[in-house]
Symmetry: D2
Amino acid sequence: MSGNTFGTLFCVTSFGESHGPAIGCVVDGCPPGLSLTAADIQAFLDRRKPGTSRHVTQRREPDAVEILSGVFEDRTTGAPIALLIRNQDQRSHDYRDIADTFRPGHADYAWWQKYGVRDYRGGGRASARETAVRVAAGAIARKWLAERFGVVIRGCVTQIGEVSVPFESWDETGRNPFFVPNASLSARLEAYLDELRRDGDSIGARLGVVASGVPVGWGEPVFGRLDADIAGAMMGINAVKGVEIGAGFASVSQRGSAHGDELTRAGFLTNNAGGVVGGVSTGQDIVVSLAVKPASSVRIARRSIDRAGEAVTVSTGGRHDPCVGIRAVPVAEAMLALVLIDHALRHRAQCGDVSTPTPHIAGLAPEGRQDVPSPGRA
Amino acid sequence: MSGNTFGTLFCVTSFGESHGPAIGCVVDGCPPGLSLTAADIQAFLDRRKPGTSRHVTQRREPDAVEILSGVFEDRTTGAPIALLIRNQDQRSHDYRDIADTFRPGHADYAWWQKYGVRDYRGGGRASARETAVRVAAGAIARKWLAERFGVVIRGCVTQIGEVSVPFESWDETGRNPFFVPNASLSARLEAYLDELRRDGDSIGARLGVVASGVPVGWGEPVFGRLDADIAGAMMGINAVKGVEIGAGFASVSQRGSAHGDELTRAGFLTNNAGGVVGGVSTGQDIVVSLAVKPASSVRIARRSIDRAGEAVTVSTGGRHDPCVGIRAVPVAEAMLALVLIDHALRHRAQCGDVSTPTPHIAGLAPEGRQDVPSPGRA
Amino acid sequence: MSGNTFGTLFCVTSFGESHGPAIGCVVDGCPPGLSLTAADIQAFLDRRKPGTSRHVTQRREPDAVEILSGVFEDRTTGAPIALLIRNQDQRSHDYRDIADTFRPGHADYAWWQKYGVRDYRGGGRASARETAVRVAAGAIARKWLAERFGVVIRGCVTQIGEVSVPFESWDETGRNPFFVPNASLSARLEAYLDELRRDGDSIGARLGVVASGVPVGWGEPVFGRLDADIAGAMMGINAVKGVEIGAGFASVSQRGSAHGDELTRAGFLTNNAGGVVGGVSTGQDIVVSLAVKPASSVRIARRSIDRAGEAVTVSTGGRHDPCVGIRAVPVAEAMLALVLIDHALRHRAQCGDVSTPTPHIAGLAPEGRQDVPSPGRA
Amino acid sequence: MSGNTFGTLFCVTSFGESHGPAIGCVVDGCPPGLSLTAADIQAFLDRRKPGTSRHVTQRREPDAVEILSGVFEDRTTGAPIALLIRNQDQRSHDYRDIADTFRPGHADYAWWQKYGVRDYRGGGRASARETAVRVAAGAIARKWLAERFGVVIRGCVTQIGEVSVPFESWDETGRNPFFVPNASLSARLEAYLDELRRDGDSIGARLGVVASGVPVGWGEPVFGRLDADIAGAMMGINAVKGVEIGAGFASVSQRGSAHGDELTRAGFLTNNAGGVVGGVSTGQDIVVSLAVKPASSVRIARRSIDRAGEAVTVSTGGRHDPCVGIRAVPVAEAMLALVLIDHALRHRAQCGDVSTPTPHIAGLAPEGRQDVPSPGRA
């Protein structure tokens, strides 16, 4: 195991390089009997795939997924599910000139030092192209979570650079190329990103991801806390530099009398916890916020060194996302789904016999919420 | 495994409740031959232990550690090291009246739903008392990291409530009861916390933790990234709600031409990455920031329900920390140490034969840094 | 993790040396709500403890177990259960003269090469004394298996040296100091072992272990097969050199038309499979046989070398078992219990929603068997 | 994780069904810098592939392997290595009539009960076809073990049914279709198997596998013992019912004064231990013996039941191996290689700094042995 398997019981083993023959994964531990076809997975891949607007990389990849195993007559069998996505539109020659230089902000230097060799073509294994397989695996997870527990997972971009996006509705996120939950800001963001592209620069973003309908009781104290695993999963997405659950950094200046969510027969009155206390889900929405750094591939010349240690300047051409945070939305949703299904299985393994007499609390899962709160710190 | 073991190769299995007979852990995977006595561990426990000033809980626990195994003639043998800390100053009767109510902000409700039973005395397993064993295990980790690689790990409080604390010097953090790196703010913080205590309220905090001297190359892409594991470890500390690496949430509004750390023969020019790119350490300082929520135990009455679902008000007496962030400093240091030693071992397992000709870069580990940058976002 | 944790979901982390302050373990993943007291565990420890007859080691250890955590008001809480057994009757001076020599058949040479240091007192960590904690952990496992599924686990000695013991009844195994299932052979075995003791020699043994009432469906193909995990667990007991499931080595000369167990509405007609096919339990008895080598500590002088590489002769005094296979019976039972509970939890994690319409087959678990077949090859 | 990943640090995740589109695996944790091409792997697959003689199944599968990732310019990069083998010669219609019946000795009944669904075509996931991917992964492991440590792994058939095969030479095993180490028995075995085939029956086999050149010190007491992991790996191969290390079951009737291997400056005098004591390698040959049951697919009619619980008779046509033990030889070698590389990495993770002054002992690895002992019990 050198870090390419995610999960304890619902395990995703990812493989593949940006410019190799293929990327893919093996999903082991999926409950048997789940209805599943390639189309179920493809729908989610299509949301993440490159080339869908001028604001993301122009690499043309159909990202067509093939199910190699673990599904028989459109049902999962409990055997490992292998997913394969062939790479199509490699332009490896774009990368020939960076074989010997270390691009600032990229994994080049650190990985070369670690492994002694590196597949430099398009970032190789370090490329965000790898995240396609997370989306594919996540599609299986969220299908099961939805069918078995009614869990719904949604993400959006809540800030791009200086432009903060007030939450309006989840419906809107699917109607614009930025995954923002607010129609009124599209024009402004288009102009903003067009300018960045002209400058040959990139920009960071803030994302919000919310899981609704998660039952109370998932998570394993003390080291397998649900929030700990979510934080690890999110920080493990390429370019993420910060993660918050619930009130997040705003809790630094909160008082305890304000932060602790009061509980009434009508439900929790607030959700500063973000749906997790003591590492265990409360039944409220799980609310996650994350910071995605600006893409490191910029046309603007920057200082670096080469393998000989000589000073060079690096200007990165090729086809890149000016704001990698945008396409990170389906990836973050997928990672949250993977954490949740894993804990669903872990929970029933240990606590499958527990039947706690739940006091009637309105609005909590599994009964489901009517109102879905806005993501981010709100 | 239900979440009480941390690490892949250097593993800490924690046990114990706040008001049970003892807390402790088993450390498995420690390299043999390390010089180790109980005193080496006690020094770190004493930094975290309760009752050291009026600003922390007044529970009196000597937190005296006993080494039960794995050490022979003051050297580790490679066998598991069991550490035992007997509880001394339980006042379980303080908790009798909360046996049937769910305190807001606490794990009470969620854990009861999960397990069907709960040891309510002092929070039982959910108590921050458990973090003592992390500090004990971390003491072993940091001793090895220091002796083998020269790694130094330091933490401090950089904000309490609205009071932000400018970084002055690491030396100062050991001289005040708040772990703040700045002498001039002590009086103000004393007054601030005295007032909180009078109000029966609590407050959040921001912490910074820095590891210096970490060699380039630790971390396992793509799911075992060093930053992912750090984020998981930090969010897994009681009361933590947010984690940042390097620039963290500030990177949302950064441009790529500013964020990516330029590299020269004289070293990296900035450290927005916080010492990790592509999930692998760069040799720069690893810089982590975290948000700790206000303690949930407050004397101010708050609304909740009891096990029968009836509305109650809860006012938490007992002996509590008004700002749990303070005593979280040694815990955060310990968790960072545990992540780092685990990756040190994982790295040499896979890459033990790699010898990359390092270009001479000034200031990078393993050569070590002279200057230690301030923690937090700076 | 350096090999001191057993199990995937029901995890036992063992610690302690033969002549250190204590041995013990942490059991993580136990389902909550199980009724449990120290007495429940002590009963099994007493079966294994030394000094109960002249045919086993005369070391006097009460092996009194203390529960340190994870149990509240005599019920498991789902938190880790730490068990502690203080060592009492160390005679470390017995071992001073072997500090620098490598006893033939013992771990001395290999462990010293591996770790560079070794706690030579009584074999340190390599001592079979460590198996007491397996018995303690196994006691929890078998209690849950019995209460939840009606699983019964029994073991016996089926051969000592040249003396093969025909199976008569399980009841008999508790009435003689050899754990043999046959009253008529006690006198012969007493004489046999008395002679061995006079000779200062030791002898091997064959054991049989049977689990009845195991439901169909436990085990995880392809690498987590139930039989694979049983084989690993058994071979991991000190001194075990061979493991068989069902027909075992007898299947080498069987024809397929004889080996494959025919299935009728009245149940399986034979049990060559030993209760496992394709890595999954069939509902029949799980039948395991193992070979335990003779104890390596013999008074007869044998050739070896010392740390300087010089030739020496070694004659091992101290207090030893002439036939370690005898006290291995409760250990083997415990290990089988640990494998089974782990797979019970793993099974319901993945397949908790499966309800297969079982054809009515007489005699299969979970309905339970009336007749319990004899262990071993029959 | 539901049992399809093998190993702790060098991890193989296997996928695929006998009659699905493909089988394959992901190898994670391979040290970087190893020279590797598809041809290196193909050589081992060709030894196992079906259709090479009339004594094995006549299914025609080229078993051509494609490397999808983790290798760049014919060197491993440290990234996961995905291997893909497309299925070619499925005759699924052969299996239509067994969709509703449970073949005696097969996984049919137990897997259906476990998962509620099953891919019955050719045994689906339970088919020994899956072992091809173990051979492929093992090829990478043994290449590294050979280049880095000089470890050589060899296996052979030592008994088929009643025909025991005295060891003559390793060279011979490659020259006959039975992998037996003795030229003089080929004619007899051909006649024996021809007769079995005419009878429509099958037969068991005993295999021996030996690893030479394994350095002293691999293995992790107490639960990760090298012999425990070997036993688990071997029992996890389809159809294996027994495993021995070294003297194995013969040790039951040995005395301690005979069993414990004496050590002199000229090396160990015997190898009853089979190269492992206290769970750690001694530097001697690692000697493993295993029992493979007769194939369960026989033309002879046998009693069983169908999904409705009705009595049926089953006669299995299709293309099958009369003695599955034969083609298990490369599989057993591969599994031993996978255990060894995993422990090589685990050992250097924890003990990478240990340098024990080895007394000069002739004939022990890493110096290497001239004489290779015969496998099995000898």
